[in-house]
């Protein structure tokens, strides 16, 4: 096993390198906090070179090339250049320890709210911007100031193959978790499809379930209230209901036979061709599923199977937010691009998402939701001074609400690969949450 050793040593070293590489920016901490940065930019002319970082490597030569032409016609003195990054999250967080991370970039999700002022140019007050734009109030804002505008927005729910569900004899979309479970059972009994595909091995699709919190209780403060409770996993709570749904389906064998060997790319084709019944994904996935389906009309989107006062709810959340690098030399041009992207580009609707503008059009992909009378719910911002409390507790507890491992454990316990009952699982999560909460707030 000698060479494995060498490789492992290399891996350890590179881990050390990665850990170390993140740190070199700590010296320029004072650069971000100066307040005059924004006032200076208003007098600047809209001109110069603009580097725009994007995660959409697939759209670079098509959609984004068009955007460049359109924008440069509008502002002839600006020269837009794109940098598409495959591992966006990982690469950009590392690059942010230098000054060179583009002029306009998508704020990495791992940034905590109180670090925003160090890295990004303020865009304006949340009060003003929220008159026009969605998602500014609760996302990427700190201390009443907004730092990013969403490129698009997502509704949340479950993508399903209408044909599979119809073949199984299900007429209406389920309105309770119990009914959902019965429907899955019918799919298992009457078709060859996997009723609910977890995409366990790829991991990140399991985190999509987390986006449904708030829908169970129709409570826009569902996430904020996590900061005030020692027991997020109690009967009736968002996490309890969502995780029970997964647990019960897995325990009844209604998920894939071997979750550890799933494959995301394959799962898209399988859903499209009726080998998979249902997957929990944000509305962004609908377009991709339709592309790989035999008949795009087979792909349906249903809300999370819970009704409050006779109505389904879906939480809409912003995707990545465009923001301006605080070290940018052409802040005026950067801001012009950012506003143009949100207002004029039409990116959100073209990609089947919810427009970042409150008056923006509804995309075709969410027609199913209109039919089902689903109410859109936007989560409330965290109270001032507590913007990062929930994520701090989450990190301290090492539960990782947005990490695959948390729900992988639930699936494992349910299918008998871990020696834990549902109640033990939830008790353990509650204990860890309570301990972490005490340490964060203590």
């Amino acid at each position: 096993m000698r060479m494995r050793t060498a490789a492992m040593l290399a891996a350890t070293t590179s881990l050390a390198l990665t850990l170390a590489a993140c740190g070199s920016g700590s010296e320029n901490g004072d650069a971000g906090t100066s307040a005059d940065a924004s006032s200076g930019s208003t007098e600047q002319a809209i001109a110069g070179d603009l580097t725009v970082l994007t995660n959409r490597t697939d759209l670079l030569d098509t959609v984004f090339a068009d955007y460049k032409t359109q924008f440069e016609t509008l502002y002839p003195e600006v020269n837009v250049k794109f940098e598409a990054i495959t591992d966006y999250e990982g690469e950009v967080t590392t690059r942010m320890s230098t000054d060179d991370y583009g002029d306009v970039l998508l704020i990495p999700n791992s940034i905590s709210a109180n670090d925003l002022p160090d890295f990004f140019e303020p865009l304006g007050s949340v009060d003003d911007l929220s008159q026009t734009y969605r998602f500014v109030a609760s996302e990427m804002a700190f201390d009443g100031t907004s730092y990013g505008l969403a490129i698009t927005g997502n509704a949340n729910g479950l993508v399903y193959n209408k044909k599979v569900w119809a073949d199984a004899g299900v007429a209406d979309i389920p309105t309770t978790p119990a009914e959902f479970q019965e429907d899955l059972q019918m799919i298992a009994d009457k078709t060859d499809a996997v009723p609910l595909y977890t995409n366990y091995a790829d991991g990140w699709p399991l985190t999509q379930w987390e986006s449904n919190r708030g829908e169970v209780t129709a409570n826009p403060d569902a996430v904020n209230e996590l900061a005030d409770t020692d027991t997020p996993w109690v009967e009736g709570s968002d996490h309890y209901v969502i995780d029970s749904l997964i647990y019960d389906a897995a325990a009844a064998g209604l998920i894939e036979t071997d979750p550890t060997t799933t494959n995301w790319e394959q799962s898209k084709a399988d859903l499209g061709t009726g080998k998979i019944g249902t997957m929990a994904l944000g509305s962004w996935a609908i377009v991709q599923m339709q592309e790989s389906a035999d008949d795009p009309a087979d792909i349906g989107y249903m809300p999370f199977p819970v009704q409050v006062d006779g109505k389904f709810h879906t939480v809409i959340t912003g995707d990545y937010k465009n923001a301006i690098n605080i070290h940018s030399k052409n802040k005026a041009a950067a801001k012009a691009w950012l506003l143009w992207f949100a207002d004029e580009s039409g990116y959100a609707v073209d990609q089947g998402g919810v427009s970042p503008r409150i008056d923006g059009p509804t995309p075709d992909t969410l027609k199913d939701f209109d039919t089902a009378g689903v109410e859109y719910l936007e989560l409330n911002p965290a109270p001032a001074g507590q913007e990062s409390t929930v994520s701090d507790i989450d990190s301290a507890s090492e539960i990782g609400l947005w990490n695959p491992e948390y729900r992988q454990n639930i699936v494992d316990a349910a299918r008998g690969a871990r020696d834990e009952s549902k109640q033990q699982l939830f008790d353990d999560l509650n204990t860890r949450w309570a301990d972490a909460r005490a340490s964060v707030e203590g």
Partner: protein
């Protein structure tokens, strides 16, 4: 130094001057350092500095992005040693540790067999070494297909009429680490094999002839000639196997991401740093792993000093 002296001074044969001018002496002293400068700078920039940085982080509480860190002293280390669940991952290493002995055994067997005259010798050498040349990510994905239900392994078992042996090779938490360790054996055996083969081929062939004249069989030749000759290499492989088992990363990370009880120490460290944003604690864990590996190496040096083997 002597090389430079002769090459710099083609007039070395003449009577030496009374005193070399200061400038020339300086240049002569600096020459080796100038040659070394580039590798040394690279070493410092990409190895020593980051490691020093990592050690520094391990004394701080830091989320990896924020501009401010909080000095904790030894608290990260204390936290690690007071949380037994962080040690549980070392049990996973045991699978790889046991597998590494199987790997060395197989490598030794093949190396011995192929060092005698065998039909298609070079072909077999190629086949055995080949897996080591394949990219680890490719191996991870190949074996994912190999182990999936109805995949290559199950299909092969079915073809042999051994359906009852079919398993959820990665889905069953009791089997997953065996499957992964098996993948690791497949991948790295070739390297052990080449090392052993090289060592065995340096044994003087007349020893085999002499021993067979004395009536020694192949097993006795292996036991009393080959094994003692390659003892240092075997000892080295063993120590590398131990430290390697502690730091398994690539195969489980690519294949399962540490899910279903296959998490190893390095995967846990990465999770800690990049999922839970505890870069300080993760750095402390990396430092601890480094120290353990250094200790094992030191121990090996003590227990198995480099001894000269001389059979002739």
């Amino acid at each position: 130094m002597s090389i430079f002296k002769t090459s710099v001074r083609p007039d070395a044969g003449r009577a030496p001057r009374q005193a070399t001018p200061f400038k020339e002496r300086l240049l002569r002293g600096a020459t080796p350092w100038l040659f070394l400068a580039i590798p040394l700078i690279l070493l410092a920039t990409f190895t020593l500095l980051p490691v020093a940085n990592m050690v520094w982080y391990s004394f701080n509480e830091w989320n990896g992005i924020s501009k401010d860190k909080e000095w904790l002293g030894l608290d990260n280390y204390l936290e690690f040693f007071t949380r037994p669940e962080l040690f549980r991952v070392f049990f996973v290493s045991l699978y790889y540790f046991v597998a590494s002995f199987l790997q060395m055994g197989l490598a030794l067997y093949f190396a011995t067999v192929l060092s005698f005259s065998t039909r298609f010798k070079n072909l077999f050498k190629g086949i055995l070494f080949f897996p080591y040349l394949i990219n680890g990510v490719a191996i991870g994905f190949t074996f994912l297909y190999f182990f999936r239900p109805g995949g290559t392994l199950d299909a092969t078992l079915a073809a042999l009429g051994l359906e009852q042996l079919q398993h959820l090779w990665l889905g069953d938490p009791d089997v997953i680490n065996v499957s992964l360790a098996g993948t690791s054996v497949w991948r790295y055996m070739g390297l052990n094999f080449v090392l052993f083969l090289g060592a065995i081929q340096s044994v003087n062939p007349s020893l085999y002839e002499a021993s067979s004249l004395d009536g020694a069989g192949k097993w006795q030749q292996f036991r009393y000639i080959i094994l003692p000759s390659i003892r240092p290499i075997v000892g080295l492989s063993m120590i590398l196997a131990i430290s390697g088992s502690l730091a398994v990363f690539e195969i489980p990370y690519i294949m399962t991401g540490g899910a279903n009880g296959s998490k190893t120490f390095v995967i846990q460290t990465i999770d800690m740093a990049f999922n839970f944003n505890k870069v300080g604690l993760a750095s402390a864990m990396a430092v601890i792993l480094l120290v353990i590996v250094l200790l094992i190496t030191a121990l090996q040096r003590k227990l198995l000093p480099d001894e000269k083997v001389n059979l002739t």
